[in-house]
């Protein structure tokens, strides 16, 4: 119930409600109060897990200290073509924004999520929770090559 509650609030997209809603059920309380209700955990999208590499084809990624600009540029292009139908870089859309993702997730986890979303949702508890948090909207497998997914990851480092 609480999850649903939070989701409903989130789905308002942070936009201020100007109109008077004719149905007030489940919407009365102020958002601040319900964001971290007593006894609930942080939503999956806000949780930090820098050890979990996820389940999928990627077991190890090395990030060079310097961002590879060429790769990031290519990644931006791939992101634009393949991901923007559901993701905005800096705000929640159908799915979560990738900005700051590497502060919460390992690079392997990110790439596995891109390359095998079905497998991740099945086998990775965090990915499963995310699916529930985002209304059960599945992340589409856009059939990126490993190289393309890696470039998207590099692009995420620039955000």
């Amino acid at each position: 119930m609480t999850v649903l509650f939070v989701t409903l609030l989130l789905s308002c997209g942070g936009k201020e409600e100007k109109k008077k809603e004719p149905i007030s059920y489940g919407r009365k309380e102020a958002p601040v109060k319900t964001e971290t209700p007593k006894g609930t955990t942080t939503p999956a999208s806000k949780r930090i897990d820098l050890t979990n590499k996820g389940v999928g084809p990627i077991s190890s990624v090395t990030l060079e200290p310097q961002i590879d600009q060429n790769m990031a540029t290519k990644g931006a292009e791939v992101f634009k073509n393949m991901c923007t139908a559901c993701h905005r870089t800096d705000k929640k859309f159908i799915g979560p924004p990738p900005t700051g993702i590497l502060e919460r997730r390992t690079p392997e986890w990110v790439m596995n999520m891109i390359l095998d979303p079905e497998g991740m949702v099945k086998n990775d508890p965090l990915a499963k929770e995310l699916l529930m948090e985002f209304n059960g909207s599945p992340m589409a497998n856009q059939n990126l090559t490993e190289e393309e997914a890696r470039s998207v990851l590099e692009y995420f480092r620039t955000l």
Partner: protein
């Protein structure tokens, strides 16, 4: 207590049945074991795949259906010559040109004889061709996508029946006419048929790399009916054989008047000789009018081009190119064995099956043993070309196919049976009943140098009591036989859709792995594609409103559209941004009087909608795509013609 006894008995009975099954499996005798053995032979366990694909023509449905063997499960209906609301084929702007002809847009067809492309006489699984009988056309289906990618109309032809059969290296797909007609078409009395009507045999070249079709030449033959055809193979490669009936050249009451002659003919056409003749400038270019429709997989769109001339060849101009082989009594099927030596004429009204010898034919030609001529075409002596005959095998022979062990299988329509006989000795080896009135039969690879054997299926014209009654109309019934042993064994009945005249079948592994799973978005060159969310937009051009819309699980972008007015022509150009196997999206808008669209991953399709009423009308995805499929929807606002509602669109926020 009674119940306890009952259930105990029941358990015991079940136990007994199970035990007897186990016994029968090992005993392998033909008593109670038969049924379970047969069931095992057609059982494809859940999640497993069939060993063969069968492509079965839909007849008057105009389409082609795809089945698995041995299960008899139908996997797909491929729209070819008929509009198909299931996918929007023939309704979407991109596919409407596929059904264009010189007679205008024709929304249906009568598909007959599929044939798979070959390389070196063996089935290669690249393309499958099929003919439209009524408004003569040949279609090509790409077996990478299982989509119809090309249709060419056949001018000077009428009742495109002895089609579509490919030569050994798919040099040509051949289309012979059933009806002879005035060539060129003109206003003339029907009674003047004899000597004035001609029958066109069309040789359509197939470009090796992409399979593009082009009518290379047409042979204008005497005014007979050309019924069926098959290519020579091996030694007889370079020749094509056509059965004829109505050598009487009757134009009325053919069931009597076309059955007068004791023998009709199989026409043997040396196409290599004619090809050489036309390559050296032979033949006459005559005015014509026919459509050539090509589907481009990059733009996801078809174009239709009208062609205004065709090259025709009078066979008497090319000595040695065409001969007539007398064949008893209105032959229907004209089948060539895997070696290419034997040409089987299935005389519908004949007691015996006639088998001609290619070697003897060449000898007779060499020695000029002619028995007269027809319009300048030499007629060979029946006895000189006869290899043998199968004596009184059944009633009403129609078609013959071959296995990989030197046996032939012929269907008998009147006596409802398939007869297995031996090539060379002509002895009958086995016969099995069919239910009922069998037409064609198919053996995987049975029309090639290398039949793949194992199964044969008969396509029956009459079903009657084989299935639960479903009113006066019943689906036709096909029957699958195991032909791996000495005797044919009936394994399965399965329903077929429309009227399956003929089918082509092949080992599944030849095409299975090559089957395309998605269309790459980056290769999408559709002029109205919205290849990313940023490209979604609405553009007005006069009274045309073009909506560049994209879809992904589970929304349309845009999903709120305003500023459309009555009198507008609204083009929904929908691009499916998915890049995952088997995730199509659908599109429907209330009042859409074409059909819904089904858009494959990476594809763009267009539906035109001309709203007739002011209001706010919903659109939605017609294909259950995800858990949030029911949320995949949007609204389009239609204002009156003189309103000033601005053109606006949005996704995820209100239009302000």
């Amino acid at each position: 207590m009674k119940n306890v006894i009952k259930s105990t008995l029941a358990i015991l009975t079940v136990f007994a049945v199970i035990t007897s099954c186990n016994n029968s499996k090992t005993s392998n005798n033909k008593s109670g074991a038969l049924a379970s053995n047969v069931a095992e032979k057609v059982y494809v366990a859940p999640g497993e795949h069939d060993e063969f694909y069968a492509f079965i023509s839909g007849g008057y449905s105009g389409n082609l259906t795809v089945y698995g063997l041995p299960s008899g499960r139908m996997f797909k209906e491929i729209p070819v010559f008929s509009q198909f609301p299931t996918s929007g084929y023939g309704y979407s702007e991109e596919t409407k040109p596929m059904l264009n002809t010189s007679h205008g847009f024709i929304p249906w067809g009568d598909s007959h004889h599929p044939d798979i492309s070959q390389t070196n006489g063996e089935i290669d699984g690249r393309f499958i061709f099929i003919n439209e009988n009524n408004t003569p056309r040949i279609a090509k289906i790409d077996l990478k996508t299982f989509e119809t990618t090309e249709i060419i109309e056949v001018p000077n032809s009428a009742g495109n029946h002895s089609s579509s059969f490919v030569t050994e290296n798919t040099e040509y797909v051949v289309a012979g006419t059933r009806f002879s007609v005035p060539i060129p078409q003109r206003d003339m009395p029907i009674k003047d048929y004899k000597g004035n009507f001609k029958g066109a045999l069309s040789f359509i070249s197939v470009e090796p790399e992409h399979g593009h079709m082009d009518i290379k030449f047409q042979v204008l033959m005497p005014g007979f009916n050309y019924d069926l055809a098959h290519p020579g193979r091996g030694a007889s490669h370079g020749w094509f054989f056509f059965s004829t009936y109505n050598s009487e050249e009757a134009s009325t009451l053919l069931e009597v008047n076309a059955s007068q002659n004791d023998k009709d003919f199989i026409a043997a056409v040396n196409w290599k000789k004619i090809e050489e003749y036309v390559n050296n400038g032979g033949g006459t270019m005559m005015p014509a009018d026919y459509a050539h429709n090509v589907y481009d997989e990059a733009t996801h769109s078809a174009t239709s081009t009208m062609i205004k001339e065709v090259l025709v060849v009078n066979p008497s101009e090319v000595p040695g190119a065409v001969y007539l082989l007398p064949t008893p009594k209105s032959p229907h099927g004209c089948d060539v064995d895997p070696s290419g030596e034997y040409i089987i004429g299935n005389g519908k009204l004949s007691a015996n099956l006639t088998v001609h010898s290619f070697t003897k034919m060449l000898d007779a030609i060499k020695n000029e043993k002619f028995d007269g001529d027809a319009y300048g075409i030499p007629i060979l002596k029946f006895e000189d070309v006869l290899a043998g005959s199968v004596e009184q095998p059944g009633l009403g022979p129609l078609h013959t196919e071959f296995d990989d062990k030197g046996n032939a299988y012929t269907t008998f329509f009147i006596s409802s049976e398939v007869v297995k006989w031996k090539l060379g000795t002509w002895e009958v080896l086995d016969r099995q009943p069919t239910y009922y009135s069998v037409g064609h039969l198919t053996i995987p690879g049975g029309n090639s140098r290398k039949p793949q054997g194992k199964y044969m299926f008969a396509m029956n014209k009459i079903t009657k009591d084989r299935y639960l009654p479903t009113g006066p109309e019943l689906e036709h019934s096909a029957q699958l036989y195991d032909i791996s042993g000495d005797k044919m064994e009936l394994l399965l009945d399965f329903p077929t859709h429309g009227e399956p005249h003929y089918a082509a079948a092949m080992r599944a592994d030849i095409i299975k792995e090559r089957s395309q799973k998605i269309y790459n978005l980056e290769d999408n060159k559709h002029p109205y594609a919205a290849k990313s969310d940023a490209e979604s937009r609405v553009v007005r051009k006069g009274n045309e409103v073009h909506i560049y819309m994209s879809t992904i699980r589970s929304h349309f972008s845009p999903d709120n559209i305003e500023g459309v007015k009555l009198g507008d022509k609204v083009f929904f150009h929908v691009t499916n941004l998915e890049q995952d196997f088997d995730v199509p999206h659908g599109f429907a808008v209330l009042g859409q009087n074409t059909s819904e669209l089904l858009i494959m991953p990476g594809q763009t399709k267009t539906s035109v909608w001309e709203p007739t009423k002011v209001g706010v009308w919903p659109f939605y995805c017609t294909d259950f795509c995800s858990a949030l499929h029911q949320e995949m929807q949007g609204y389009i606002r239609v204002s009156s013609a003189n309103s000033d509602t601005p053109l606006k669109w949005s996704l995820g926020e209100d239009i302000e």
